[in-house]
Amino acid sequence: MNIQAAITIYKFEMARFRRTIFQSLVAPIITTSLYFVVFGAAIGSKIETINGVSYGSFIVPGLIMLYLMTESINNAAFGIYFPKFVGSIFEVLSAPVSSLEATVGYVGAAASKSTIIGLMIFLTSNLFVNHDIKYPLVMAIFIILTAITFSLFGFIIGIWAQNWEKLSIIPTLLVTPLVFLGGSFYSIDMLPEFWQKVSLLNPVFYLISGFRWSFFGTSEIPIALSIVAILSFMAICLAVIAIIFKTGYRLRT
C-alpha cells in the first residue's frame, strides 16, 4: 500500500482549503446567521414548536446537512475536476498510486473540509439557539458518513464533468432541490398527505430525518432506516467509483 501517496494527496488538497479558508468558512457562517435571523427569529416566532422543538432549533440539523452535502459535493468535485482541467492529473495517473489510494486522498480531504464547515455552522448556531444534543455519538457518525458519502458522489461528478457547466449542473439542478424538499426547514408532517408520500422518495429526507433524531430523539421515520439509506447510497457511490477506475473512464484514454 502506498499510504504516503494518499497522505500526500490529502495534504495537498487541505493546503488548497487553507489558502481559501476565509472564503470557505466566512460565507457559510454569514449565511447561517442570516437563516437564523430570518427563519429562526422573524418567521420562527410565528411558528409553533414542531414536535416540542422550537423552530430555531428545529432547522439547525437541516442547515448543517444542507451545508455538509453541498460542500462535500462541491469540494470533492472541484478537487478532482481542477487537476483534470489543467492537466496536472497526469502526475497522479502516472505515479504508482492505486485507485483506492487516490480516492482516499481526494475524498478524505473533501470530507474533512465539509466536516469542518459543518462544525463551524453548528458552533454558529449555538450563538442563536441553545441545544442539548441527545445522542452526540450518533450525530458525529451521521456527520462523518454524510460527509464521506457525498464527497464520493462529488468525486464521481468531478470525474464525469468535462466542463464547468457540467460540474455545477447536478449540484444545482438535483441536490439543492432535494435538500430543500427533504425537510431541512420543515417537518414533512406539515405537508399535505400527497407530498408526504413524495417526500419518502427523496433519499435526502432519510438523512435529515435521522440526523435530526440525533439532536432531539424524535423523527418522522425510524433511525435505522436512515442509517440504511446513507449506507446504501455510500455503497452505490463506491461501486460506481470502482467501475470508473476499472475502465479508466474519463481519466485514462
Binding site: 504516503q4 496536472s88 495517473l93 505515479a95 485514462r252
Partner: protein, 305 residues
C-alpha cells in the same frame, strides 16, 4: 546492455484512428533513446502507454520485466515523466509542487534532494513562489524538477525543447547528459533532428504510428550519410544514353543537372564520371557535394513510406 523496457506488438486505436500500429521496441538500460517523428506520429501516445496515462488496445509493455498493466506499481516507480504541455496547478508553490510529486511515489519529503534539484534547474530562488507567476521556460524546468523529485531510474521527456529558447535548450541538453552519467535511462521524443543527433545513442523513427527504423545513431549516420554530388551542366541533356546504366546517377532540373547519390570516393567514381563527360563533349559549370544529415535521412524515410 540489458533491455529495460520492452514493447511488444503494441497498438492503440482511438475510434477508427490507429495511433499506434503494432509497435515493437526495446529500450536498453542507461541509454539515451530518441524517438523521432513528425507531429501526430504517435510519440506521445507511445509514451503515455508506457507511463500509464493511456491503455494500449493490444500488445504488452514491460519495464524491468514487469507488465505495465498488471504490475503498474513496480513499473511506474521507476519512471519520471516530463510531459509535452505545461500541465501545472498554478496556485501551488514551486517547492510544494515538487514535494507533491515525490510523495506520490511513496517517498518521505526530502528537503535536501528537492532543493538540490531546484538549484540544478535554477529554480531555487523561486521555491516559495506560486507557479502561475513563472515564465514558460521556468514552468518547463519545474516539470523536469517534478519528474526528478522521486529519483527515477528511467526518464521520459516528451519534446522537452519544443518552443524553448536556445540557452534553455542547451541547459536541458546538459541536464539530460548529466542524468545519463548517473545511470538514468532516457527516452526523449523530438521532431528536432539536431536534438537526436546531439544527444541520442540510438534513434527510433516513428511515422503514422509505425516504427520505421531503429538504429545506433552512429550507424544510422554512416549508413545513410552518402554524399550527394550535383554536376551543373552548361547545356541541357536529354538522356544518359552515353553511359552505362547506373542507379546512383540521374538527371534533374529538366536535364540541367546530373545528380550523383552515394558516390564512393575511394574508387574514384567521381573522377571516372567526369572523364566520361569530357570524352562525350559534355561541358559543366559547377560541381557541388553535400553531406546527408539525419534530417535528410528522416525526410527520405518518411516520404518513401
Amino acid at each position: 546492455m540489458k533491455s529495460q523496457i520492452s514493447i511488444e506488438n503494441v497498438s492503440k486505436v482511438f475510434g477508427r484512428h490507429k495511433a499506434l500500429n503494432n509497435v515493437s521496441l526495446e529500450i536498453k538500460e542507461g541509454e539515451i533513446f530518441a524517438l523521432l517523428g513528425p507531429n501526430g506520429a504517435g510519440k506521445t501516445t507511445l509514451i503515455s502507454a508506457i507511463c500509464g496515462l493511456c491503455r494500449q488496445s493490444s500488445g504488452n509493455i514491460k519495464v524491468n520485466n514487469f507488465d505495465t498493466l498488471t504490475h503498474y506499481k513496480e513499473t511506474r516507480n521507476q519512471i519520471g515523466l516530463v510531459p509535452q504541455e505545461l500541465p501545472l496547478d498554478g496556485f501551488e508553490s514551486v517547492y510544494n509542487s515538487c514535494q507533491f510529486s515525490r510523495g506520490l511515489f511513496g517517498l518521505k519529503d526530502s528537503r535536501d534532494h528537492i532543493e538540490k534539484i531546484l538549484k540544478t534547474l535554477s529554480l531555487f530562488d523561486k521555491r516559495d513562489e506560486q507557479i502561475f507567476g513563472l515564465s514558460g521556460g521556468m514552468k518547463r524546468r519545474l516539470l523536469i524538477a517534478k519528474a526528478l523529485a522521486h529519483e527515477p531510474k528511467i526518464l521520459f521527456l516528451d519534446e522537452p525543447t519544443a518552443g524553448v529558447d536556445v540557452s534553455l535548450r542547451r541547459d536541458i541538453w546538459k541536464l539530460i547528459e548529466d542524468q545519463k552519467k548517473m545511470g538514468v535511462t532516457i527516452i526523449l521524443t523530438t521532431h528536432y533532428i539536431e536534438e537526436a543527433e546531439q544527444l541520442a545513442d540510438r534513434v527510433g523513427i516513428i511515422n503514422s504510428g509505425e516504427i520505421i527504423l531503429v538504429k545506433e545513431k552512429t550507424a544510422l549516420m554512416s549508413e545513410f550519410s552518402k554524399k550527394t554530388t550535383f554536376i551543373r551542366l552548361s547545356k541541357k541533356l536529354k538522356n544518359l544514353s552515353f553511359m552505362k546504366k547506373n542507379k546512383k546517377i540521374s538527371l534533374t532540373e529538366n536535364g540541367m543537372t546530373l545528380k550523383l547519390v552515394g558516390i564512393n570516393n575511394r574508387s574514384n567514381e567521381l573522377q571516372s564520371i567526369v572523364n566520361l563527360l569530357s570524352q562525350n563533349g559534355i561541358a559543366f559549370t559547377e560541381i557541388n557535394t553535400v553531406d546527408n544529415s539525419l534530417e535528410d535521412i528522416f525526410l527520405d524515410l518518411v516520404e518513401t513510406q
